[in-house]
Amino acid sequence: MSPLHFSFYSAFTFSSLGLAFHRTHLISALLCLESMMLSMFIPLSIWPVENQTPSFALVPILMLAFSACEAGTGLAMLVASARTHGSDHLHNLNLLQC
């Protein structure tokens, strides 16, 4: 495994572990999601260079556009949870538990 592969695999792994185990604020969950997407941007943009497939060069931009949409939706829900629950603490979201 080259250092490049190791760097983005470990970036993805650590940010998904952060999303799974650090559950205090909604904003930190959204940041972890965004860093998962950004760590996938690196290999997707190296792929057309290493494999000489210029038709694949659009894909990282497509992925970045969708991750921007996701981040925008996440921030909209941050505002919505601040208006309905008073804060962005994830332990406040307990109205629907079994």
């Binding site: 592969h5 695999y9 993805f12 998904s16 999303l19 909604l26 969950a29 999601l33 998962m36 997407m37 996938m40 290999p43 997707l44 792929w47 494999n51 894909v59 497509l62 992925m63 969708f66 949409c69 996701e70 939706t73 996440g74 829900m77 919505a80 949870s81 309905t84 629950h85 979201l93 109205l95 629907l96 538990q97 079994c98």
Partner: protein, 346 residues
Amino acid sequence: MNPHAKLICTVSLIMGTSITISSNHWILAWTGLEINTLAIIPLISKSHHPRAIEATIKYFLTQSTASALILFSSMTNAWSTGQWDITQLNHPTSCLMLTMAIAIKLGLVPFHFWFPEVLQGSSLITALLLSTLMKLPPITLLLLTSQSLNTTLLTLLAISSTLIGGWMGLNQTQTRKILAFSSISHLGWMIMIISYNPQLTILTFILYTIMTSTVFLSLAQIKVLKLSTLLISWTKTPMLNATVMLTLLSLAGLPPLTGFMPKWLIIQELTKQEMTPMATIITMLSLLSLFFYLRLAYHSTITLPPNSSNHMKLWRTNKTLNTPTAILTALSTTLLPLSPLIITML
């Protein structure tokens, strides 16, 4: 909700689903999943109630994590094998990650905690969309990759889904939560057969969609959200309550009704593959869900409330039954005699 916004959301929901189920490239499938997730979010949160917002946040976090995991697994596979085709997922680690991501997306058992809560926070029609239309793209991805996935892991997921779906539904009094747990246990039956006979998974999914749409649409028509409302709803539309009882028994899989067909075929296929212990276990576990279906059926028709003086009497209004409910009720109760035809068509 603004009609234009509703139109845009519905159109993108249909478009995202059709992009995913007709794609051959992982990037396109991921795009369809993302469009689907982003389109259902306004439909869940449209009431601006704190419960709706909470359901939206939970749905968004789980679905976007699962989408990122799907893209990551396909990218790992592409870097090691050079293939972006959905059907050529060969790397074992990415198969494992894909199984996990799809289990998160569908709400299979180790990752099922979001599903009843999201259903409880949304309206009945949105809950119907969440448990039928939003399950179609992940099931399709699972079908396309089914020959390379780990059979033992899938069987384990299936058995535990049927167990937990039946078990946790026993204690509920809210109809949406009961239907969510019934969805989890039906998904267990679908995942059980997927590596032996993928056609049966499609058949089970279609029949489950028909039956659960009938239940959700009927409950939406008599506005029933919990069991005590179901108990006094017989004054509104008595015929609809009788057909709800039949549909619930069909969902439980009792023999003369449609819901028996997929269970029958799955048990037959498992016996052919010499997996009789698994077939016995999964059949016994579906008895658990039979218990809460029977309780719903009992509350809908068979019994009267013991406290008749306290409840506000509901007027019997002359509502016309809408046609989709009637057609879906007929399909979800009387399709069993047509099973040879359906098997041939698959």
